[in-house]
């Protein structure tokens, strides 16, 4: 088998890496002091996951339960899933050199923190199958500080609707402003909107990536990635240079759920990966919330299903704060000033919010095109609505 992920090769995909600009071969002595990095055993474990990348996909296809696999000690893990490459893996396992691994991380501009470290996020450490090492881009100290506080994860569909994206952005913004650490997966759609919203409020945000932490995944999100590692952190359990695989996505989702006190799902289809995150959060006994959607929308089937099975209804940041801290203990900061809606326009705004969101639906007896158009413009300029694809208008959430 030749499917071993290329660990030493140059990062593929996006050209942006977290590595600071420097030339020459990496020197282990440049690396952080031993107390500031993962221990050898944990690094070896992390290397092993990357080395067995292809075998994990194979094992998963045969229906093995990932969380259980992640709990196996190294030797049994190799025995369980290495298959034909087992002798080679065992040989390489014996010869593993922590210095090289540390140098590799250092060269990629990634810092490490391991399970044995007291600074390792407490909540994640208590979760079964927690990662041995977290590779952090954007600052290990920042990451530790973020996770010392309360964290909430918000995840959702890649193909979010304008409504979902708007809610995601607004929740990220309000919870970031409320001082919570907002965790998500930097995927397209909802996840990215969450990060972007949090960054808008200069809040703390953590992106858990399905590949090496030193480069953006998906590559098209390089702009967002740059902003995240500028004001937040990007983390991954996989060493730098590891490519994403099928199994790394659900594996990443377990970290998202494990890091946070509450998980909120915004828009998820019936078979969405976000539901894996929700299931993990439920198994860990963490709070689980979902944003209600229309019952006719396929994008809301998953979230509405969660609600039906007892997840908390999340309408705004206040609902999240109530769930984590108890009702009324902490309140969301006041929404940023928006021009108050003139009474004549309230009806129009509520019509847009109720889903009559195209001009054709809004024009009617007593409301001419000119009236509606100027009204919509006023609402848009005032920051109450936004125009989306297809001439649709989306009501914006305050905050």
């Amino acid at each position: 088998m030749t499917a071993a992920p290329d660990r030493e090769g140059p990062p593929r995909g996006g050209r942006i890496t977290a590595a600071p600009d420097r030339d020459g071969s990496p020197n282990p002595e440049d690396g952080p002091p031993a107390s500031q990095r993962a221990c050898e055993d944990c690094l070896r474990r992390s290397w092993l996951l990357a080395r067995l990348g292809a075998q994990f996909d194979f094992a998963r296809r045969r229906g093995r339960d990932l969380p259980l696999i992640f709990d196996l000690p190294d030797a049994r893990l190799i025995a369980a899933i290495a298959g034909a490459v087992r002798p080679a893996v065992e040989r390489e396992y014996e010869r593993f050199d922590a210095q090289t691994a540390v140098a590799g991380c250092h060269a990629a501009g990634v810092e490490t923190i391991c399970r044995c470290d007291p600074a390792y996020p407490r909540r994640l450490a208590t979760a079964p199958g927690s990662p041995a090492v977290l590779h952090v881009a954007g600052g290990r100290d920042r990451f530790v500080a973020f996770l010392a506080g309360d964290a909430v994860s918000i995840v959702g569909a890649r193909r979010g609707s304008p409504y979902g994206l708007e809610v995601a952005r607004s929740l990220g913004r309000s919870l970031g402003a409320a001082g919570l650490t907002v965790v998500s997966g930097m995927a397209l759609g909802i996840d990215s909107a969450v990060h972007a919203g949090t960054l808008e409020a200069a809040g703390a945000t953590v992106a858990v990536l399905p590949a090496g932490a030193e480069r953006p995944y998906p590559a098209s999100k390089r702009g967002l990635y740059r902003r995240i590692i500028g004001g937040g952190v990007a983390v991954s359990e996989l060493p730098p240079g590891t490519a994403s695989r099928r199994w790394t996505f659900p594996a990443r989702n377990r970290i998202i759920a494990g890091l946070s006190a509450m998980t909120v799902v915004i828009e998820a289809g019936e078979r969405s990966g976000s539901l894996i995150t929700a299931a993990v959060a439920e198994d860990l006994g963490r709070e689980l919330g979902a944003v209600p959607g229309r019952v006719t929308s396929a994008l809301s089937a998953g979230t509405n299903d969660l609600l039906a099975r007892g997840a908390r209804v999340v309408r705004d940041a206040g609902d999240v704060l109530d769930a984590i801290f108890g009702v009324g203990v902490r309140t969301a900061p006041a929404p940023r000033d928006s021009i108050s809606v003139r009474p004549e326009l309230r009806e129009l705004l509520s019509a847009v919010g109720a889903g009559r969101d195209t001009l054709g639906a809004l024009v009617g007896p007593g409301r001419t095109v000119e009236h509606v158009l100027t009204g919509l413009a006023e609402l848009e300029v005032g920051g109450h609505i936004r125009r989306a694809a297809g001439g649709r208008y989306v009501a914006l959430m305050p905050g």
């Binding site: 001009l359 300029v381 125009r387 297809g390 001439g391």
Partner: protein, 544 residues
Amino acid sequence: MTWGTRIVTFVLKRATTTQENWRAASPTRDTDMRSVLGMLAQVATFAIDGVDPRPVWVEVDIRSGLPTFTIVGLGDTAVRESRDRVRAAVQNSGFKFPPSRVTANLAPAFLRKVGPGFDAALALAVLAASGQVPVEALARYAVYGELSLGGELRDSPGALAVAEGARRAGLERLIVPRGRAREAALVEGIGIVAVASLREAAEVLSGREPPRFPALPAPAARTGVEPDLSDVRGHELPLLALQIAAAGGHNLLLEGAPGTGKTMLARRLPSILPQLTRAQAIEVTRIHSVAGVHAGGLMTARPFRAPHHTVSAAGLVGGGTPPRPGEATLSHNGVLFLDELSEFQRTSLDALRQPLEDGHVTIVRGQRVLELPTRFMLVAASNPCPCGFAGVGDRCSCGEVDLRRHRRRLSGPLLDRMDLLVSVERPGERELRGPPLTSSARARERVLAARERQEIRLEGTGAACNGEMDSRLVRRHVRLDGEAELALGAAYERGALSARGRHRVIRVARTIADLEGHDRVRVADVLMAVSLRQRDRAEGALAA
């Protein structure tokens, strides 16, 4: 060879009488008549360079030697082949092709000559040089047309351009194929001789009364066949936007699901634009004649061109070898409609930038520079998203990536030149059964009144309508009332408008006020313009 000397004297005589006329038109006229030993004749004709006529001399020299017929002077294959056509046509018309060494030159030699339009001039020059038609008669004529082997003059595109060239060169008469007479006759101050054959042309030159062609009917008023806004049911907003676009010369982007009527609406835009002036009509007719898409009388309707989305950059703005006018030039003084905007190649759309901005396109081929007029209104139609159903219930299944890819396919520089964005929704059932909201005649009246207001305001600025105002003109000529100023300021302050977006909104608001007949732009006009604006990329950004 008894008639040899006679011809030479003719030529010498003519050289002195007509040189005046030709000096201006033909800068390379350097034939030294006195050194001519054989028999020489010259005929004026015109080559079409882009859409402009360029004077060309056909010179024929006959001298003793083995019978040959050579054509020199940078002609293309069609010109080289005219050797055989001319020879056959001359003989089949009952003339004699001189059994000597015949050399024809198309001057000026640097200009590339394209197409079979020089046939008739070549044949008549041969006849003149061989004494079969009087040379001095030819001096007042320009000749244009393709020949058949039997000697008939064939329909050749571009007669109007040739007639304009002939008048500019000071010639009195132009011989054209009969099918093109009506078109050539649009040029005043030149006599058009329409002939069916080489024989007839020779007879006219020998003094016979030219055959008459049917009198030109007066330019037809708009007929009912033209698509009319009264065919449209519902679509209140798009109809409004069409009028704003027509009144202010704003480029327009229609966005809507398949089958909602985007194309139908766009086709009706020419019907509410002001009538072409005579000068504009002649220009349009000339362009379309040269391109071979129109033959006959004056074109009175504004052109509407809707090229298919596979069109190349050269097809859109002009080019190729020989350079031909593209769709942008064909829609000069009219409407260029790009349906399925996102399907066009990026390179084609980006090429539209200069034509849109400058009103003309400059094409450089080899050592030649060609300028083609391209003052058109751009209307584009596009699906709102790749599946086309955004805005139609919950049918859209496009994600963020799809939308972004779709958006990226629309050329940025092109979108920057679109002032208006209108969503075209499916009209309701009741609207489909109801009466039309307006008619082209009514809409045109409003448009004309608004245009008049703009002309008065913008007189002497170089801009004809609000869509052509740059930021300097906007500052100088657009007055907002206090409330409107406040609303615009608030929108800009809050980041709802970019600087460019603000500029666009003001221009469109000015047009809306013109349609309403107001001197000052009111807050309602500004808000309407805000709703109809084409979002800047920075303004319309989705999450991250």
